[in-house]
């Protein structure tokens, strides 16, 4: 190394120690200055009694009884100052111009998460995802080509070919898809309420959508017509998000956001993509000597037998697309499955090409019965027929 480089290295690498007590005192001072600047900003907002009145859901219902309509109808609400009316179609239309979504949310354990979504403006599909769950210690980056799951606490990277982070609901068409695919088929209801956002003091439209298995409250900016916050009381199966606290649209994507660099010392695990996993002979059961119908019923019965007995390892061997932790947290946590009530007749769905769906009714410890639609995938490996479960093909519903 050249002498000059030695000096450079010395300057760069020399350590400095600081007094922890003073560190904290200075930081407190800095935060105080920050809070003061924030309070000056928010002091400009006038308090509004409207929000206080509207806080109670019962009051909300009473206040908006006149605008209670089902989803198929055009829903509008007139402003008391006779501003232009709001209609859901405006939000659906405005969302078609979204190319990026950046949001901060909380999961059902109240842990913070942050996500960036790159949206295909033509289709509304989620092209790329960036999901940071700091309290869980996981960063997930998913593109059509590759998906990385970086477990920061373990310094481990799982790599899956293709887009492993997916959502049945298109983020770029969120309201449209929820209304078309969830609320309308279940004969749900929507309401529109006007109020003032308690965080910003600004006027917002609240879109409240409810069906037997889903309940959402979306705050719509009356200027942009776009949702700025969303709360969920009941969510879709597998949905990790309980509330979306801040949403920002069409922000420029940070450079290299979806180009994940594997840390040099990280453990790297390459996992099989979905279609490889479900064709892995180590998973599933043999269908030799059985009809497809018998094999389908057998694997579903075996799967639920394992889940009811909390043998999640064995359940995972039949449903390899969900790892043991996922089965534990999603299926095992459904207040405890206690009985497989029935296995229904199979049917096909045009968009699911790799398996057939079976309606399965399961009773839980609280007495409720849920109907799930499990996919059975048949494969012939080395001339031998076998099958495996490949997830759920459509939204589950509560029967009683």
């Amino acid at each position: 190394m050249r002498p000059a480089k030695n000096v450079e290295k010395l300057i760069r690498n020399i350590d400095i120690d600081t007094n922890a007590k003073t560190d904290k005192a200075v930081l407190d001072d800095v935060l105080k200055a920050f809070e003061n600047s924030k309070s000056k900003k928010s002091a400009k907002l006038e308090p509004n009694i409207w929000r206080t009145i509207m806080k109670s859901r019962i009051t909300k219902l009473a206040t908006v009884a006149a605008v209670l309509l089902i989803v198929a109808a055009t829903v509008t609400v007139l402003d008391h100052l006779a501003k232009p009316a709001y209609a859901i179609e405006q939000t659906i239309e405005a969302m078609k111009n979204i190319v990026t979504i950046h949001f901060f949310a909380r999961d059902w354990q109240n842990r913070r998460l942050e996500a960036w979504i790159k949206v295909n403006p033509q289709t509304g599909e989620n092209d790329c995802h960036y999901l940071n769950e700091p309290e869980l210690g996981q960063i997930s980056i998913s593109t059509p080509e590759i998906t990385y799951f970086y477990h920061t606490n373990e310094n481990m990277v799982r790599i899956v070919e293709g887009q492993a982070l997916r959502s049945d609901i298109r983020f770029g068409r969120y309201i449209e898809d929820i209304l078309d695919r969830v609320i309308e088929p279940e004969h749900g209801e929507i309401q529109i309420i006007k109020e003032h956002d308690p965080n910003t003091g600004e006027e917002v439209v609240v879109l409240w959508a409810e069906s037997p298995n889903y309940e959402m409250e979306a705050f719509i900016d009356p200027k942009t017509k776009l949702p700025v916050r969303i709360n969920f009381a009941k969510a879709l199966p597998g949905q990790i998000i309980k509330s979306v606290d801040e949403i920002y649209y069409n922000e420029p994507l940070p450079e290299g956001l979806f180009d994940f660099k594997i840390p040099e010392d990280a453990q790297v695990i390459r996992e099989q993509p979905l279609l490889s996993v479900i064709d892995d002979p180590n998973y599933g059961i043999s269908a030799e000597g059985l009809t497809k119908d018998e094999a389908r019923i057998k694997i579903i019965k075996e799967f639920w037998h394992h889940v009811i007995n909390k043998d999640f390892e064995s359940a995972h061997m039949l449903l390899p697309v969900a790892d043991v932790e996922k089965i534990k947290s999603v299926i095992g946590a459904l207040s405890g499955a206690i009985e497989l009530v029935s296995v229904g007749e199979p049917f096909e769905k045009p968009n699911i090409t790799f398996g057939i769906l079976t309606p399965v009714r399961v009773r839980f410890s609280d007495g409720k019965i849920l109907e799930l639609y499990q996919i059975t995938h048949f494969r012939r490996i080395d001339g031998k027929l076998s099958c495996v479960l490949a997830g759920e093909g459509q939204k589950s519903k509560r029967i009683e």
Binding site: L10, I11, I14, I16, D17, T18, N19, D29, L257
Partner: protein, 181 residues
């Protein structure tokens, strides 16, 4: 750099967590930079504290052209210049004036815990002409590009690179001679 962009983004939207992270991430480096530029512990601590307080107040108006590290280093360099200017002025006029250009904030105890190596290095850096000291400290410690330093010093990039080279050479000879003693 992505982390910084996200931190700035969150900070501008009022996140205390983001501000804490920025503080934790850069305070040590800025303190090193300030002590190198000022070679006076209390003044360096005041300058860095002032930079963070002022940064915290700037969330609404902050427009970052370059990277965050470089931005904060420039803030420290500007305040260090003001402090040096006030000190020089004080030496010729009012002895109380230098104090007025830096923070009035009170800290419970001394912030920097000096070690021998740091003291030795800062003593050596303090023997450089100020422009060379600034070029060396901002590039090697502050991570600033020569182009940004050239803008700050209002000279050409070549001049900054020369100042940096001369500064390093001189620093090496000072450190070598001290090692021989």
């Amino acid at each position: 750099m992505i982390e910084d962009k996200l931190l700035i983004w969150k900070f501008k939207r009022g996140s205390n967590d983001a501000l804490c992270r920025i503080y934790e991430k850069y305070k040590d480096n800025l303190l090193k930079l300030a002590t190198a530029l000022l070679n006076e512990t209390t003044a360096a601590e005041d300058v860095v504290q002032d930079v963070f307080v002022s940064f915290a107040r700037s969330a609404d108006n902050l427009r970052l052209g370059g990277n965050l590290k470089s931005y904060l280093a420039t803030c420290v360099a500007n305040r260090a210049r003001n402090w040096n200017h006030a000190r020089r002025h004080q030496e010729t006029t009012d002895p109380n004036e230098a104090e007025s250009s830096v923070s009035n904030s009170k800290r419970p105890e001394q912030w920097i815990i000096y070690n021998e190596r740091l003291k030795l290095l800062n003593d050596a850096i303090s023997q450089l002409p100020y422009q060379q000291r600034e070029a060396v400290s901002l590039h090697a410690q502050g991570g600033m590009k020569f182009k940004a330093i050239a803008k700050l010093q209002d000279v050409s990039i070549n001049t900054v690179q020369s100042r940096y080279r001369y500064g390093l050479d001189k620093l090496r000879s000072i450190l070598d001679s001290e090692a021989e003693l």
